[in-house]
């Protein structure tokens, strides 16, 4: 029988896919043997818990130990453990890309490229191959429509400087949140520290997590959030709370949150399997559908009531610059806002 080129192509494809399957099977088996994966994450608690449950349902017998905290705290704990010689963390995930430059420089990361990321945009990939962006978060303005009328509501970053908002604003903290760290740097790059100095005159209520402003705005404790994780505002809104998200036209900080495996991961195979899982189309679609996040996966579709990223003007910052200016940003922020 004469083999057609099509048939050749077919066998090649099947062969290729089945090798991939075999590799996967071996990885799953090795991961099962390790039994668990320890995930240090800054993804909002309900979301990270949900992801871990998806994984546990798919790979029975592998437990995901979720340690959720703010990006800066995740780094702090990880570095404290490292300094004490404790090898506990398998996967590190924060919203401060600078952390991953730091960890890479200190030789604390394992080089690992999950299968799905080839098609991701460049902004989601470390050129050296140590970390990849699992999700993208926007830092936006939001207000409580029950308290602030549509006409009155702030539409731009500069609107927030109006003294009429004195005592009515809430901000999250760059000393806790990587999203806010990125947010502050992005806006400093556009407006300079002047902007935050003026903002500071409006007596802001200071919370820690970029997710917390959603609750503060929804309860009416402060009717306007000057920053905060868009996906968490969106989720809170979807739960029926009074929240209106504003996407400022001058530009919106885009925060790409990387995932990396620790070099001394006690469960390296489970860590690899979990990383593969996170970057699979299935999971990335779940992040978009259930958690309201944006992702780097080009095939993922988003809820109809969310704007498309390509329609927004995005402000991104360089991971290196984030790493270098981390201490300066924290210090200046505390000087301006008091804590």
């Amino acid at each position: 029988m004469k083999k057609s080129p099509a048939f050749l192509l077919f066998t090649l494809l099947v062969g290729g896919v089945s090798t991939a399957f075999a590799q996967d099977a071996a990885l799953v088996q090795a991961a099962r043997k390790e039994g668990k994966v320890v995930w240090h994450t800054s993804l909002a608690l309900p979301s990270s818990t949900a992801i871990s449950h998806y994984f546990q349902n798919k790979y029975k017998g592998i437990e995901v130990e979720v340690h959720r905290n703010g990006s800066q705290r995740v780094l702090q704990r990880f570095m404290q453990e490292t300094a004490a010689g404790i090898k506990n963390a398998d996967i590190v995930h924060t919203s401060d890309a600078g952390h991953f430059e730091l960890l890479k420089d200190k030789n604390l990361l394992l080089k690992f490229t999950p299968q799905g990321v080839a098609s991701f945009p460049d902004g989601f990939k470390d050129k050296a191959g140590f970390y990849y962006g699992m999700r993208a978060t926007l830092s936006v303005i939001a207000h409580n429509p029950k308290i602030v009328s549509e006409n009155d509501a702030p539409k731009t970053w500069k609107d927030l400087l109006n003294p009429k908002w004195s005592g009515k604003l809430v901000t999250a903290h760059p000393g806790y949140s990587g999203i806010i760290m990125t947010h502050v740097l992005a806006l400093v790059n556009v407006y300079g520290w002047e902007y935050f100095r003026d903002l500071g005159k409006n007596k802001l209520h200071i919370v820690q997590s970029a997710n917390d402003p959603a609750g503060v705005v929804a309860s009416g404790e402060r009717p306007v959030g000057v920053n905060g994780a868009e996906y968490f505002y969106y989720k809170t809104l979807k739960q029926g709370n009074p929240i209106k998200i504003v996407y400022p036209k001058e530009g919106i900080p885009l925060v790409v949150s990387p995932v990396a495996i620790a070099k001394d991961a006690p469960h390296p195979n489970a860590a690899k399997l979990f990383t593969e899982f996170i970057f699979s189309k299935e999971s990335q679609q779940l992040l978009a559908d259930k958690e309201g996040l944006y992702t780097g996966h080009p095939e993922v579709t988003y809820p109809a009531d969310k704007p498309k990223l390509k329609d927004l003007k995005l402000l991104s910052v360089d991971a290196d610059e984030l790493e270098k200016r981390n201490a300066e940003i924290k210090k200046r922020f505390v000087e301006i806002f008091g804590a």
Binding site: V64, H67, G85, N88, A89, G167, H205, A218, E221
Partner: protein, 575 residues
């Protein structure tokens, strides 16, 4: 028999059987306990001083210089002094008034009031602070909303995210210290002098002000210092109420110094002034309380008669209930409401009702399960080993087993002057590097709790042993039992209720501990208080409330169990 005589005879008894004490086969145990205690206290403190003065480049006073020149640090110190001063003042006003009412007047419902004061004491201050953010946040706070809807005003009645707000809430959870101190004294003041004043024509208030008050003055000052110190060492309440308004205190500043890149050396240098301040204040307090210049206080000879309010009892009772509703009823109610609602700021209707917070806390979120397990494991371990250790130490000091044994009590009580966060700085520095790496396990928390709770356990055991005559023990030793066996089979059973109380106090102290835990936990060794604080930073109101309720329920269960087992009323005093 007068106490001193009993003690002397007891001493003669033990002395005669314990010499030559070198032959005592249980001696290694006593020496071991002594060495362990001294090490437990000195190692972290030594680590703090070392880290604050030395680094790789050698000796330097530069860090202390920075503490006293850095504007942010100075501001934190100033805030702390102001807050603690006012907390002390308010605690004395509330605590002394309540103590006087409960001991010297015919106020009804005294037992329930004492129980409610105990409830304020048991409530972790960080939990109270969290509840008050829901009650008196300027805009969404339930009380402020109520105020606006009643008065039609635009403004808030009370903003809890301010210095006064912080002071108010911290005082609500510091006044029980003053209460127990003043109540103890008021029980002992005889009414003779008060009678004399009334015969001379003074009215009730003049008598209280000119006679009772001066007699209770040492207790008032002592109580003030205790409340001042308590507020000085708090971390959770200022972090929850102060930071959102840009207010740093010494404890929150020390905590911030642990953020990456950590400045442990600065945290150590910043801890030392706090440590010295507490030492000085405790010394002053001891001096004032130890003077015993008032011969009218202390004896039990005098008669105590109650001041009659008559019909005035009702408004006074309402006032008292108002105070405890601020520290107990309102916070508990809002926690329960938040635990059961989807949106805490909305009315609790069927639409808003949910059990999801409970199922999330207990079944979905892995951290809470591990934390609950860790917390109770640590609580039971620390309480058990702490009581045992405290018993052995109290036995050593009480029976004066070797020369200088009395000085051991100094070490056992030393943690009184070490604020939790300072202890944690010391332990962190001491146990995150070889030879002894405890960080990352629950054992570093165990060491912290054991150290921190030693004074409570020790003073409970001490006062219990004082009241037990050594003759039974001597009898047991004559028929051949050694010291340890006598202690176990004879003395300890007699001391049962005191030791159960010690166990319970340590257990409750452990499960509510935050200020040391917040620096010492690692992701794998979280405890409930830390999880609550983490959740607070993310704003998970419902889940926090569930965990807070859990802590309260367990604490009260332990207290009730203690009263049942020990057969005594521990609500009355806490010595």
């Amino acid at each position: 028999m007068p106490a001193s005589q009993t003690e002397t005879i007891g001493k003669i008894g033990t002395r005669s059987w314990s010499t030559p004490w070198l032959k005592d086969p249980t001696l290694p145990v006593w020496i071991g306990v002594t060495v362990f205690l001294v090490f437990l206290m000195l190692f972290p403190l030594g680590s703090i001083f070392r880290a604050s003065l030395w680094d790789e480049t050698g000796f330097s006073l530069g860090r202390y210089l920075e503490v006293f020149t850095n504007a942010a640090f100075l501001k934190a110190i100033w805030n702390t002094v102001v807050i603690s001063f006012w907390v002390g003042v308010i605690s004395v006003v509330i605590g002394a008034l309540l103590a006087w009412l409960v001991t010297r007047t015919d106020l009804p419902w005294k037992k329930p009031i004492r129980a409610l004061v105990m409830a304020s004491f048991v409530t972790p201050p960080f939990l109270g602070a969290f509840a008050w953010t829901l009650l008196a946040g300027p805009n969404a706070g339930t009380l402020n909303k109520l105020y606006r809807s009643i008065t039609g005003s635009e403004d808030a009645l009370f903003n809890v995210f301010t210095m006064p707000g912080l002071i108010f809430v911290m005082a609500l959870y510091s006044f029980p210290y003053v209460f127990s101190m003043v109540a103890n004294v008021c029980e002992l003041i005889s009414s003779d002098l008060e009678d004399a004043a009334e015969i001379l024509g003074a009215n009730k208030w003049q008598t209280a002000w000119t006679v009772t008050m001066p007699l209770a003055l040492p207790a008032l000052i002592g109580g003030f210092i205790l409340a001042f110190l308590h507020s000085l060492s708090l971390f959770g309440a200022p972090a929850i109420l102060g930071l959102p308004a840009g207010i740093h205190t010494v404890t929150t500043q020390i905590w911030a110094l642990f953020q990456y890149p950590p400045r442990l050396d600065m945290a150590a240098a910043f801890s030392v002034p706090l440590l010295l301040a507490t030492m000085v204040l405790i010394a002053v307090q001891k001096k004032i309380l130890g003077r015993r210049g008032f011969s009218t206080v202390g004896g039990k000879g005098g008669q105590k008669r109650l001041i009659r309010f008559g019909w005035g009892r009702v408004p006074v009772l309402l006032l008292v209930l108002g105070v405890v509703s601020l520290s107990v009823f309102l916070p508990y109610w809002i926690l329960l409401k938040a635990a059961l609602s989807t949106a805490w700021a909305m009315p609790l209707t069927w639409d808003n009702f949910t059990l999801k917070n409970f199922s999330f806390a207990f079944f979905e979120y892995g951290d809470t399960q591990r934390a609950i397990f860790n917390t109770f494991k640590l609580g039971i371990l620390t309480a058990t080993i702490g009581t045992l250790l405290a018993t052995l130490i109290a036995y050593i000091t009480n029976r004066n087993l070797f020369r200088g044994a009395r000085y051991l009590s100094f070490f056992a009580l030393a943690p009184l002057v070490i604020p939790g966060i300072v202890l944690a700085v010391g332990l962190f520095i001491a146990y995150t590097r070889p030879p002894l790496v405890l960080y990352g396990t629950i054992w570093i928390l165990f060491v912290a709790y054991l150290t921190k709770e030693m004074p409570i356990g020790f003073s409970q055991a001490e006062s219990t042993f004082k009241s037990i005559h050594p003759e039974l023990e001597d009898a047991s030793r004559i028929i051949g039992a050694n010291r340890l066996i006598s202690l176990k089979d004879v003395t300890a059973p007699l001391a049962r209720s005191g030791l159960i109380a010690a166990w319970s106090f340590i257990f409750i102290g452990v499960i509510r501990e935050l200020s040391a835990s917040i620096l010492l936990f690692a992701p794998a060794s979280k405890v409930v208080s830390v999880v609550i604080f983490d959740l607070k930073e993310e704003g998970q109101v419902g889940v926090i409330s569930v965990l807070g309720i859990l802590l309260l329920v367990v604490s009260f269960a332990v207290i009730l169990a203690m009263q049942w087992f020990a057969g005594r009323d521990v609500v009355a005093t806490r010595e």
